[in-house]
């Protein structure tokens, strides 16, 4: 058990967010907001409210302009997500180190860039 305890301690000391509780209500509601944003982005990529409409604006159907605008908006929202909320729902920042026989059999690498 000695080695295992040592690994657990090493793990904990390496984790900056060791003392942070998981997941807080704030985090949960932020997650729900982003899920809602995702659903809206999917839901209105096709302008259902223009169903049957054939209005042409500047050489293209109005519904196509809506779609183009929506995709640009989606990019902007994704950018916002990437800068503000990236990691939400995935990165655990958890206090729980690997438990019960979960010590990695492979080497642990760094997780990429420093934020």
């Amino acid at each position: 058990m000695g080695l295992k305890t040592e690994i657990l301690q090493l793990w904990a000391s390496n984790s900056k967010s060791y003392t942070r509780p998981v997941p807080t209500t704030g985090m949960r509601s932020r997650r729900l907001v982003w899920i809602a944003v995702g659903i809206v982005l999917c839901g209105l990529a096709i302008p259902w409210f223009l169903w049957g409409d054939g209005t042409v604006v500047a050489g293209l159907p109005l519904w196509l302009w809506w779609h183009v605008g929506w995709m640009v908006l989606a990019s902007a929202v994704f950018w916002l997500f990437a800068t503000r909320a990236w990691g939400i729902g995935i990165e655990t920042d958890s206090t729980s180190a690997p438990t019960g026989g979960e010590t990695d059999r492979r080497s642990v690498r760094s997780g990429g860039d420093q934020p």
Binding site: S15, G54, M71, T92, D104, S107, G112, P115
Partner: protein
């Protein structure tokens, strides 16, 4: 003159791609991880364009514009939603999580990632086997596409078999030599090339016909219903089913899924994610609007032929048409080369290594992977020359087939209570369901055959004769193309979801399962 020029442009293009492959070869390590994933080092532009070029096959150039020509430009919306938004969200939800896990546990394939979590060699094999079942015929379709395009472009001077063979041989050469790094670099060239040529093509055609206003007016005069959103073809259910099924299917396609492991850093993933919707709409608008406008422009499209080459032939010089066809070749090759590589990695890592030779060294695996590419490509070419209808049917349905994997995987990634039995049952049930809907005709024929054989027997004959119609009715009622307008692919995904969750709830996890590895310690630093 034109023929020589056309062939010259295509050959020149192939040689350029090969040169890039050779440069990449000089940079490779002789390890399997480098061969499959370029040692997880991709930057933003390379990851963005390699995924883009891999995702968008010859379909964007041929089948897509054909649909827009025959049914109207709403196809842009379906593709925009599926690739630009749904896939982008999965890029984060599945892709980022896979990337983190890949960084930590050095996974190379999806099957490996699942097999490790559920401590199941069998699950790993099932995921690889199912993937190869759909991937193989899809590679064949790409080869057929290339052969046909070359034959049409050269007006038969390069026969179909020679064209398909040439492209395959060429792909084998640079995939085997250059691996993932070479593929990604050529993809970057090909993706940029596709974007530029389709835009130039659209601007060129519009300049000749007098601008988008004139082109749209001509379309309105010819087929006004194409401008109004929705039709008998584009129903709400069909548009949503198609976008959802293909969007999820794309994320499980081996060559796309494997790219989730290959990003160099978190920043690369973030940037690619944000740029994705714009990149998609930039390609779809010119390519599909050209197809849609062609309807009003009196372009003679041969029966069963492709619209885009016909538009280009009518409005642009021969050399430019050849350049765009080279772009289509680029699209087709950039998808196929990655499929060959991924197919080979699924085979060597998830089938050969666990089931045949567990003690395979890194160096040997690298070699075996290259041999795998040759075998996979040659077998697909051989099969495509025999034009077997069943396999083509599988290839056409590949996106829906892969989509059946998506929800069980998603649940496993985010729900701790998923059990080995649950995910295995979910994958098998949805695959079986979808395959049966696809081949329901053969199932009915089999029932009839068995019925007629057993009907001869005096004892069971009457019973069988009474049972047969009921059984056929049951099969044709349960397994259909569409359910109230929703496609079988979408219904199958729902089934996979229900079975995975249901079976997980009623079974207990096996002792060896590593239930927390998808959750603990996936932190930002």
């Amino acid at each position: 003159m034109t023929l020589t020029l056309q062939v010259g442009i295509i050959v020149g293009y192939l040689l350029l791609a090969l040169a890039i492959g050779l440069v990449a070869y000089r940079m490779t390590d002789r390890t399997a991880e480098d061969f499959y994933l370029a040692s997880r080092t991709f930057g933003t532009i390379v990851l963005l364009f390699t995924t883009f070029a891999t995702l968008l096959s010859a379909f964007t150039f041929f089948a897509g514009p054909n649909v827009a020509y025959h049914e109207g430009p709403e196809w842009v919306l379906v593709m925009g939603l599926m690739d630009g938004i749904i896939f982008a969200i999965l890029w984060y939800v599945i892709g980022y999580k896979q990337w983190l896990l890949g960084q930590r546990y050095e996974y190379v394939t999806l099957g490996e990632m699942l097999g490790d979590r559920f401590a199941s060699r069998r699950l790993r094999g099932v995921v690889a086997g199912v993937s190869l079942l759909w991937l193989f015929p899809y590679v064949m379709l790409q080869q057929v596409g290339a052969g046909t395009a070359l034959q049409a472009l050269t007006e038969g001077a390069v026969p179909y078999a020679v064209g398909a063979g040439l492209i395959t041989a060429f792909m084998i050469l640079y995939v085997v030599v250059a691996g993932m790094r070479g593929i990604a670099w050529t993809d970057t060239l090909q993706g940029a090339f596709m974007l530029v040529t389709t835009w130039v093509a659209m601007i060129w055609v519009l300049a000749v016909v007098g601008g988008p206003g004139a082109a749209t007016a001509a379309l309105e005069a010819e087929a006004a219903q194409h401008l109004a959103l929705g039709s008998d073809h584009y129903t709400v259910q069909w548009m949503l089913s198609t976008a959802i099924v293909i969007g999820f299917g794309v994320a499980m396609f081996p060559q796309v899924n494997q790219r989730f492991f290959a990003a160099g850093s978190r920043t690369v993933l973030k940037r690619s994610f944000a740029l994705w919707p714009i990149l998609c709409v930039l390609l779809f608008i010119p390519s599909f609007m050209l197809g849609a406008w062609a309807r009003g422009l009196d372009v003679a499209v041969p029966e069963g032929g492709n619209v885009l080459p016909a538009v280009l032939a009518a409005f642009t010089p021969g050399w430019f048409a050849a350049l765009v066809i080279a772009g289509a070749m680029a699209a087709m090759m950039s998808s196929s080369d990655s499929m060959l590589l991924s197919g080979s990695s699924y085979f060597t890592r998830d089938l050969y290594r666990p089931f045949v030779d567990r003690s395979l060294s890194e160096r040997r695996e690298d070699l075996l992977a290259r041999v795998g590419v040759v075998i996979f490509a040659t077998a697909a070419l051989g099969a495509s020359l025999l034009t077997p209808a069943t396999l083509f049917e599988l290839g056409d349905a590949a996106f829906s087939g892969f989509a059946q994997l998506a929800l069980p995987v998603l649940i496993a990634l985010y729900w701790r209570k998923t059990t080995r039995a649950g995910i295995t049952a979910g994958i098998l049930a949805s695959q079986l369901f979808y395959l049966t809907t696809l081949f329901v005709g053969s199932v009915v024929a089999a029932i009839e055959l068995v019925g007629s054989v057993l009907g001869e027997l005096a004892l069971v004959g009457p019973v069988v004769a009474g049972l047969e119609p009921t059984l056929i009715l049951l099969v044709t009622t349960v397994f259909r193309d569409a359910y109230l307008g929703w496609t079988a692919g979408l219904v199958g995904m729902g089934l996979g979801l229900v079975v995975t969750v249901g079976v997980s709830l009623v079974t207990t996890p096996a002792a060896e399962e590593r239930r927390t590895i998808y959750f603990d310690g996936l932190s930002a630093d």
